[in-house]
């Protein structure tokens, strides 16, 4: 196998790493690599921080192993190679009336990555995380493929789902697709005036897909204002596909300056009429709104950006409000901010979700922002919440273990699955997750 040395970065472009990567296209090639030179598997590198990096080491780029291996139209069970992208699965199966059970905010995420991060989507409150819908995982071990199911190999399965790739490369997985009415979304958008109203609406929502955009620059009486989107799948209405745009260069630093963001957010909020509205959107526009703008991460300029995402228990909603107050007061937030209610559904020891509220906010990579993020992390710990490791680039080892109560169980399984520490990534190293 040929190894190609390049510089890589996560989606936030803050951390970079020099690695030698192999890019197998066949199962036999992957088997040979894992037997001789096991290394962490990466997909499309949509993790924001360093979960997809291994500086000075090797990695296995799984992006070319992306085929549909089997689909049973009776049961909706899809067997697919780990490098397959969620958006591709959507494209192939939505016209047949099936959807990926859980879709993260980008369709470029791979099945392998979605398992390793146990990602969630806009239906988390009802459907749970991605891993909940996985019926089987085939790991590639140095001894060859090993099939895991949630029943027969509960420990290794739960250490793999949400397990940050530490149990080894995933060759393929079976997932239960969801029945859909069609491939458009019927979306009801509603203006929300302030925080308390937002939480009340999220609590009361009985839509399958619910997400809140929040104006993280609004303060005072307007704190927590935003737009609530509730959606269901629909059929029979055709909307035109739009061509993707690309951000060709790194934007200058003033592109997302506080006044620009405040102005944009106010206009974005007013875009939805006072009385709300219902619109029909192509399915991928609803689930992956930013994917149409390729390389949108370049909007943050050369120095990159961070996304802070935490979840706090329901009874800690006031702490989350205090965090938003701090964010709004800082003037550092970008337009990209999301508030959502999460259900309890999770499938791995290290899965992020917990029943509660999750807040995600992007910040340009500046000293003031990194300082703010570490304050927000401390507030998350205090609220007995969690930081999402798919987004994290800044935490230290001390806080993270405490956030994940099943850490010890995970660490034990991982130690026996990978005693040599071959699958350690920069994130795992930074958070010191593989030492006793």
């Amino acid at each position: 196998m040929t190894w190609k040395t390049s510089e890589y970065s996560g989606w936030g472009r803050v951390h970079t790493a020099n690695s030698a990567a192999a890019r197998p296209e066949r199962a036999t090639a992957l088997a040979a690599i894992v037997e001789k030179t096991p290394a962490p598997a990466v997909g499309m590198r949509r993790s924001y921080g360093d979960a997809c990096l291994n500086d000075g080491g090797r990695m296995i780029d799984m992006s070319r192993m992306d085929r549909v291996l089997n689909f049973d139209p009776e049961t909706g069970i899809l067997h697919v190679e780990a490098g397959a992208q969620i958006g591709q699965i959507l494209k192939i199966f939505a016209p047949k009336g099936w959807l990926p059970p859980v879709m993260p905010g980008t369709g470029f995420a791979t099945v392998g990555g979605a398992i390793a991060m146990d990602v969630h989507g806009k239906n988390h409150h009802g459907a749970g995380s991605f891993g909940v819908h996985i019926t089987e995982i085939t790991l590639m071990t140095p001894k060859g493929p090993k099939v895991l199911t949630p029943r027969k190999n509960a420990g290794l399965f739960k250490a793999t789902v949400g397990g940050l790739g530490q149990t080894g490369p995933i060759l393929s997985a079976r997932l239960q697709l969801l029945r859909a009415k069609g491939d458009v979304m019927i979306v009801t958008e509603r203006r929300v005036e302030a925080w308390d109203e937002f939480l009340a609406l999220l609590d009361a929502s009985d839509a399958t897909y619910t997400v809140g955009w929040i104006d993280a620059t609004a303060r005072g009486d307007q704190l927590g204002r935003g737009i609530l989107e509730e959606a269901e799948t629909g059929a029979g209405l055709v909307t035109a596909a739009k061509r993707g745009k690309r951000i060709p260069v790194d934007a200058p630093s003033f592109a997302l300056s506080p006044s620009v963001v405040r102005t944009f957010n106010a206009a974005y909020w007013r875009r939805v009429p006072d009385r709300g509205r219902t619109v029909v959107k192509p399915i991928d526009d609803f689930f992956f709104p930013l994917d149409k703008i390729h390389d949108w991460n370049r909007l943050y300029g050369k120095s990159g950006f961070h996304q802070f995402q935490c979840v706090v228990p329901i009874d800690a909603a006031d702490s989350l409000r205090a965090m938003l107050e701090r964010i709004a007061g800082s003037g550092l937030a970008s337009p990209l901010a999301v508030l959502k209610r999460m259900g309890p559904g999770r499938a791995g020891y290290m899965s992020f979700p917990m029943e509660g509220y999750t807040l995600a906010v992007d910040f340009p990579n500046k000293v003031a922002a990194t300082r703010l993020i570490s304050e927000l992390e401390a507030a998350t710990v205090e609220a007995k919440g969690r930081i999402y490791l798919a987004k994290d680039a800044l935490s230290g080892p001390d806080s993270v273990r405490g956030m994940y109560p099943e850490f010890a169980a995970w660490a034990k399984v991982v130690k026996s699955a990978d005693p040599g520490g071959h699958y350690i990534t920069d994130l795992v190293r930074r958070l010191n997750l593989r030492t006793a």
Binding site: T2, W3, K4, R23, E25, R26, A27, R64, V68, L69
Partner: protein, 245 residues
Amino acid sequence: MSQTWIILGATSTIARSFARLASGRGDGVLLAGRDIDDMAATASDCAARGAPLAEVIAFDARNASSFKAILDQASGIEGTLSIAVFVGSMPTQDEIDADPSLISGTIVDNFTGPAEFLTMIAPLLEARGNGTIAGIGSVAGDRGRLGNYVYGAAKAGFHTYLSGLRNRMGRKGVHVMTVKPGTVDTAMTWGMDKLPFLAQPEKIAADILRGADRQKDTIYTPLIWWPVMTIIRLIPERVFKKLKI
């Protein structure tokens, strides 16, 4: 009328992209190559994407006895029968210089193997009076270069063969297209340094399919290689022999 592609060398990166793309628009695919397990995975993928026929069959350019079974299967395929040839191998010039016996295999993989197969199946296509043969050559076949002139020579031979085949088959309603890709991001080129105008396999696959639909004789893909190779072909040998390009 439905079209079915016999795809020779179906485990190659570009062939896989081509098979998926053709499947997505409803063409059938018969995948021919050596790694049956891997092709079976691609066939499942093609079926999911919409191919009405997605099957695999053994093909080895170096073993002409594998050709007959494909011919038998091909004669039973209904609708338009087309062929896309992605077979090839590219040992580095250094490897060849160290072991000149690699030359004959390179010539078989890139030229004489597929040529023998195409010559065998040509009467079947002529009798049907339609279909396309897309032969994947290379810009490397346009000029003998320091870096890979044995591979280039094999591709040049294949180009000339395709040109003659086009002359013959065109009279019977069968279209023959020569495809000259530049550098493509495949398993074969992974890890090579400084590849100019590196293209993704999906782009090459789309160009092949579009070229076949429009009955192009020769295409460069991506198109940038047409002006580039036009200039390179015009450089006098007296000058070219001193260049390192």
